[in-house]
């Protein structure tokens, strides 16, 4: 299966490993990630719907996928959030959609975007397209006995009316993923609370206290490791807490599929 892939700035820079693991694992799982040509930064956050300009890069990616009849996949939580919210706006706000399409068609002579592209986070791709049971079959190096705490953060789950990934208060997608790799998920309450996000730039102490609250709660439930899908979450947790390792979920996947060393050498 081929999908349109939106890596995003961070995955090309500070989070290269997140990208490399995702690509290699996808190959093994029978999915080809076709990187969108000339993609542009998503902007990091989805801002007010009265701005059209900040949505155009997402819109280009959505239409790129539409032209190829492919789903649009990203790994970074922030990119996924922006793409998904933009798609929702295009589907549900006709006035916005008309306005936004005007910008598109004037620049590039092709059809307007009609809102039909399916937007998946890489985790959703694993759950809904590949299937966690199929992943479990491909695991050659099961992570048996490891107690792993998933960290959802904010961007994957909220706003739930748009993201529709999982129950925002009682999500299970990450836990099921960890189970498929043979490890034991640690369910803890702070898994959907904020790490401090971009405010870390202005107020590092603040994000430190938020990050610590998350990791301490995970540790109190017996976690040996925290996994996340978001480079900013990883940065905040890594920088501010030093109790247990914080890794990307794709790294765990690569390890379980037995290709982590290949990736690291690549």
């Amino acid at each position: 299966m081929k999908v349109s892939y939106f890596p995003g700035c961070t995955l090309k820079n500070k989070a290269k490993d997140l990208d490399v693991y995702a690509r290699k694992c996808a190959e093994i799982l029978g999915v080809t990630l076709e990187e969108i040509e000339n993609w542009q930064c998503c902007g990091g956050v989805f801002t007010s719907k009265d701005e059209v300009a900040t949505k155009l890069s997402s819109l280009r990616a959505l239409r790129y996928a539409q032209d190829r009849s492919q789903p649009l996949v990203s790994v970074c939580s922030a990119c996924h959030n922006v793409l998904k919210q933009t798609n929702y706006l295009m589907q549900n706000d006709q006035a916005f959609a008309n306005k936004a399409n005007l910008y598109m068609t004037s620049n590039e002579s092709c059809d307007p975007y009609d809102g039909t592209t399916a937007v998946y986070h890489y985790l959703e791709l694993l759950r809904d397209v590949v299937g966690f049971d199929k992943i479990a079959e491909k695991v050659t190096n099961p992570l048996t006995g490891r107690k792993i705490a998933p960290y959802y953060g904010c961007l994957l789950l909220r706003p739930n009316s748009v993201m529709q990934m999982d129950d925002p208060e009682n999500p299970t997608i990450f836990e099921d993923f960890i189970r498929a790799l043979g490890a034991e998920p640690v369910v803890y309450s702070m898994r959907n609370e904020c790490c401090g996000g971009y405010v870390t730039m202005e107020d590092p102490d603040f994000s430190k206290s938020k990050s610590n609250a998350v990791v301490n709660n995970a540790v109190s439930f017996g976690a040996e490791c925290v996994v996340t899908a978001c480079p900013l979450c990883k940065y905040n947790l890594d920088k501010n807490t030093h109790t247990i390792p914080v890794v990307y979920f794709t790294e765990l996947l690569a390890e379980a599929l037995g290709i982590k060393e290949d990736c690291d050498n690549a």
Partner: protein
Amino acid sequence: MQRIGVFVCWCGSNIAGTVDVQAVSDALRNEPGVVFSTNYQYMCSQAGQDIIIQAVKEHNLTGIVVCSCSPRMHEATFRKTAAAAGLNPYMVEIANIREQCSWVHKDMASGTEKAIILGKAAVAKVNLNAPLTPGETPVTKRALVIGGGIAGIQTALDIADAGFPVDIVEKNPTIGGKMAQLDKTFPTLDCAACILTPKMVDVAQNDNIRIFSYSEVEDIKGFVGNFDVKIRKKARFVKEDICTGCGLCTEKCPVRKVPNEFNLGMDNRRAIYIPFAQAVPKVATIDPDACNMLKSGKCGVCSKVCTAGAIDYKQQDEILDEKYGAIVVATGFNPISMDKFDEYAYNQSKDVITSLEFERLTNAAGPTQGKLLRPSDLKHPHTIVFVQCVGSRCASCAEKGKEYCSKICCMYTAKHAMLIRDKYPDTEVYVFYIDVRTPGKNFDEFYRRAVEEYGVKYIKGMVGKVVPEGDKLKVQASDLIAGKQLHIDADLVVLAAAIEPDKSARPLATMLTASMDTNDFFTEAHPKLRPVESPTAGVFLSGACQGPKDIPETVSQASAAAAKVIGLLVKDKLTGNPCVASANEMMCNGCSTCERVCPYGAITYIDKEFRMPDRTVATRRVAQVNPAVCQGCGACTVACMSGAMDLRGFMSSQIIAEVDAICK
């Protein structure tokens, strides 16, 4: 051809002031069918009525038109007059020339002209009138109460006291419902069991009441006075009439780890069980999903220890066919699932519980024998946080919870908080509230006592997040009056979960053709004036199935429903409204459209044999209207595509004749 008499009323000057009554009676005298026409000062007076009776006899009248005030005023009067004159009362039509003519028009000429036209329309209609006789149906003098909680119990007792037999169908092994699970009751703090269990015994001992426990209503046919109900008595694998309720089997059963639903899963029961000590009927029930004997044929301990020989592993479900004159719905409520509110960590910590679970925790017959111990480690909690409105008062756009106020939570939370402070003064109790709603006799006084005498800390604000960490529950909440965010290390968190109608209500409503609102509460016939009746005749509502209610309100409604049932059952026969729909079988094409639009389920289809012109016999599907159920709205007459359905008293031909007369 009819012989019609026209009687124009002056109504003093009310009509005669704006309408030339003489001109009206003169004009109508020339209408087809009219053989007599007159006018008089007060047609509704005895003298006026005598004029009508006299004229019927003298002129051999078959139909009467009275041009007078609104039929809503005196139609019944003139129908009686007709009957007194020996005419069928439905041969009378009223032309409304007061409210809809003389009172709203000032000009004599146009008023008279309109009165003549209205009179002509009435004459045209009477020309097509046919005598109608109201149908009579017998009443089965037995009531069915669905649900055996306090609502059903009270309704059944009141009906039985009036001398009518009543059956209670309860889906659980015992009656008692939610109230049996409660500890104390507000605002007087008497223990629920102490006031409920005597009533349960009364039910068991009342000769007029039969209890079908562990049973469900499977099908309902029929109509007011004549319901045919199928009841499924589920196999309990214990002979109800032989079991003595000694409980030996429940002690010896080797399957020990079945979650006990009566204690909301906070402890375990055996595979054979009696829900609680005061159960009615007090007989054991085998849980087929847990019993080794029923699952694999290996065990049989209960059968061996039962000296009465009551165990019957081969028992089958039994279907009972019963007849009832009235049905009372008392299916009650349940707390909603807390799955969508996991910010309160209900699924992550045993020490986050619902208020109903709290009732069991403080109940002397509960899993902790009434000692307040928290479920995780059975330690005494020192800091307890109550959260109000969990899932109540949620906007539909928030996609979780219910839009309505659950009504009972403010009071039971005040009760819980007060009882804790009374028994364990070393415990800190916080109640987070949006509003405290205490409209009820002695309710606000009760809540104030919790605050002023017992020192419960009421905080205007909400809990946003509960995080279990170590042996504490970290509660993050707002205090809106202080403008603070609070962080409380609690030992126990109690959630006032919204309540919703029992899941069995929706399929039951379909069987009853009774209407429900979007929340699956049963709709009452009128929100103010008929609050205990369903719009479907013969179906009555009792308790929380109609809307959230506390015990005093439930009992009031239960007795009110009983009074309505008694009022129905004392009648030997029900007289119907003769203006009902009827289908012309020769024209009916069997399409079922009318059946689907009927709000009362009055239309059924039957296969009927017809003799055809060529002397063969053909079977055709045709509509049949049950005149006892039909209320005469006429929706079916318009829906009918073949023109087979018509409404007596308002036939299409009559209405068209009125249209023609007006437009002539």
